[in-house]
């Protein structure tokens, strides 16, 4: 679905934002793109959608060169940016103007999602809505486009706690074998139990890219007693609840993935973790 090969990109000549980056993303998955601020997550999404052009390397999105921005490709992509455009349109008119560009758009779905987000009045003007409400409208619209590729940049920013739960439920319900979702975030907790593949960016490179089932097969996430000692521990965090540990899963024991713990573990003990995969 998306094939990025040896891509290098920079906004200025002095600093490279992405360096020789390669990644393949398959359909039927929700990919979580994690990384600290300024690592190039948003830029990678822009490159995939054709908003920026790679200086070196090549990208194939849905079988197209995204640089060409062909409508056949664009009608199968929906990009939810972190910062939304200022449009002096009502929700109703936004749908009227932009929905016809997407051949698989479903008004029924759009209305359902809006209802779930408690947005009842489609006559509301987008520029009069709060940032969170506006984000809800765009999330609902994006999901209703039924595009093959859905790119979301920090989608939970600005959403209140109940809305984050609604967002997770909605996204989970829309994924199928033909659809690929890439969600970029630095708020890893928000994606708990949603994503099924984790990509971590560090120092402008992809340092980790694994499906959840592989991660839980190779790593064990547990809360251990502070006095307990184990040779398998790769990374641990001391919290009020106990000692959160990531260790090598030698016994095949099943554990629930803690994304935040994994993310911190990768940033701290990158070599040890990468060696296991």
């Amino acid at each position: 679905m998306v094939n990025v090969q040896n891509v290098t990109f920079s906004y200025t000549k002095k600093t490279e934002l992405l360096s020789n980056l390669s990644i393949k993303l398959e359909a039927g998955r929700i990919h979580g793109l994690l990384g600290k601020n300024g690592e190039g997550k948003s830029t990678l999404l822009k490159l995939i959608s054709g908003l920026d052009f790679p200086q070196v390397g090549s990208i194939e999105t849905l079988g197209f060169n995204p640089v060409k921005r062909y409508p056949e490709m664009l009608q199968e992509i929906f990009f939810l940016p972190e910062e939304l455009p200022q449009l002096t349109l009502s929700i109703e008119n936004y749908e009227k103007v932009y929905a016809p560009f997407y051949p698989n758009f479903s008004t029924v779905q759009f209305n359902e999602y809006l209802k779930e987000f408690d947005i009842d009045n489609k006559k509301s003007m987008l520029n009069k809505l709060s940032n969170g409400q506006k984000k809800k409208v765009f999330v609902a619209f994006g999901l209703a486009t039924n595009t093959k590729l859905l790119l979301m940049d920090e989608p939970t920013n600005g959403l209140d706690i109940p809305s984050k739960g609604q967002f997770r439920r909605m996204v989970a319900s829309t994924i199928d074998d033909n659809r690929c979702l890439i969600i970029s975030t630095h708020q890893v907790h928000d994606l708990d139990s949603l994503i099924d593949s984790i990509i971590v960016m560090e120092k402008h490179e992809i340092v980790f890219n694994q499906p959840i089932e592989n991660i839980t097969k190779k790593l064990l996430f547990r809360i251990a007693d502070r006095n307990e000692k184990s040779d398998n521990v790769i990374y641990s965090e001391d919290t009020l609840r106990g000692l959160y540990q990531v260790s090598e899963n030698k016994t095949g024991e099943e554990s629930k993935l803690d994304i935040e713990l994994l993310f911190n573990a990768i940033l701290t003990e990158k070599n040890k973790i990468v060696k296991l995969f």
Binding site: F53, Q86, V97
Partner: protein, 251 residues
């Protein structure tokens, strides 16, 4: 589906413009009608057409002033050619036709109201469509540009400012003006240098030589035609440059 040009997508892009700008368009054309009710002098009408026109053209790609707006626009599933064609039609043909319509309506209403309020008996006179204008206070008549020539000059100005709107990020009007002035100065300087080399002087004041040129046709037969061709071929040239600029636009 046609990758380059699709009528359905063109229609959707027009629909997008009119729905998004309905309020602003209605307000502007209302104001134009009122202006033409009181201002019917050909020179003033032409000036209004050109000035308001280039402001309109310079705002055609204003979405790129703001990154999220630019992203949203570039991701609309339509080709670059379709997006550009829609903006060319809007800034050139649509705008010109609307000016003409508001001019006609404004002139009719203005003349009618003037006759009623001040007791005049002025006939409705669309000076813009007359090639020859008679001046009532000195009984002289003079030629002014025909409507086709006005349109072509207008289209040229629009093409320059539309290119400016896509080329510059922020304050496109000012930057396009400055660029235009800088280009004119450069060409003027080049002309002076050519004169210096050709005639040995910067001036054609007759002191050093006697140049008795009545028209540019005397200097070079067919000069006017060639000049007109160059002038009008600049319109598609600027459209083409705008197209390439749009295809390589990154946000």
């Amino acid at each position: 589906m046609n990758t380059t040009l699709n009528i359905n997508r063109l229609g959707l892009l027009f629909q997008r413009f009119f729905i998004e700008n309905k309020q602003a368009e209605l307000t502007f054309w209302g104001i134009s009608t009122v202006i033409f009710m009181v201002m019917r002098n050909v020179g003033s009408v032409e000036m209004f057409l050109y000035i308001a026109g280039f402001i309109f053209a310079a705002r055609m790609f204003k979405v790129f002033n703001y990154t999220p707006g630019g992203m949203h626009y570039l991701l609309i599933p339509a080709t670059h050619a379709e997006k550009l064609i829609v903006n060319i039609i809007l800034s050139t043909i649509y705008y010109f036709i609307m000016i003409i319509i508001t001019y006609i309506i404004g002139t009719i209403i203005g003349t009618f109201l003037g006759n009623i309020i001040f007791g005049w008996q002025n006939p409705i006179n669309f000076q813009l469509f007359n090639d020859s204008i008679s001046n009532s206070w000195n009984n002289q008549s003079y030629q002014h540009n025909g409507i086709l020539e006005i349109f072509m000059t207008f289209a040229l100005i629009q093409s320059i400012f539309m290119l400016g709107s896509i080329y510059f990020k922020g304050n496109a009007i000012g930057k396009t003006f400055l660029t235009f002035i800088a280009l004119s100065l450069t060409l003027g300087l080049l002309e002076m240098i050519l004169f210096r080399f050709t005639f040995g002087s910067f001036h054609l004041d007759g002191h050093s030589f006697n140049l008795n040129l009545r028209t540019s046709e005397d200097l070079f037969p067919g000069f006017e035609i060639v000049g007109t061709i160059i002038k009008y071929s600049l319109i598609p040239f600027f459209w083409l440059v705008s197209y390439f600029r749009l295809t390589e636009k990154q946000v």
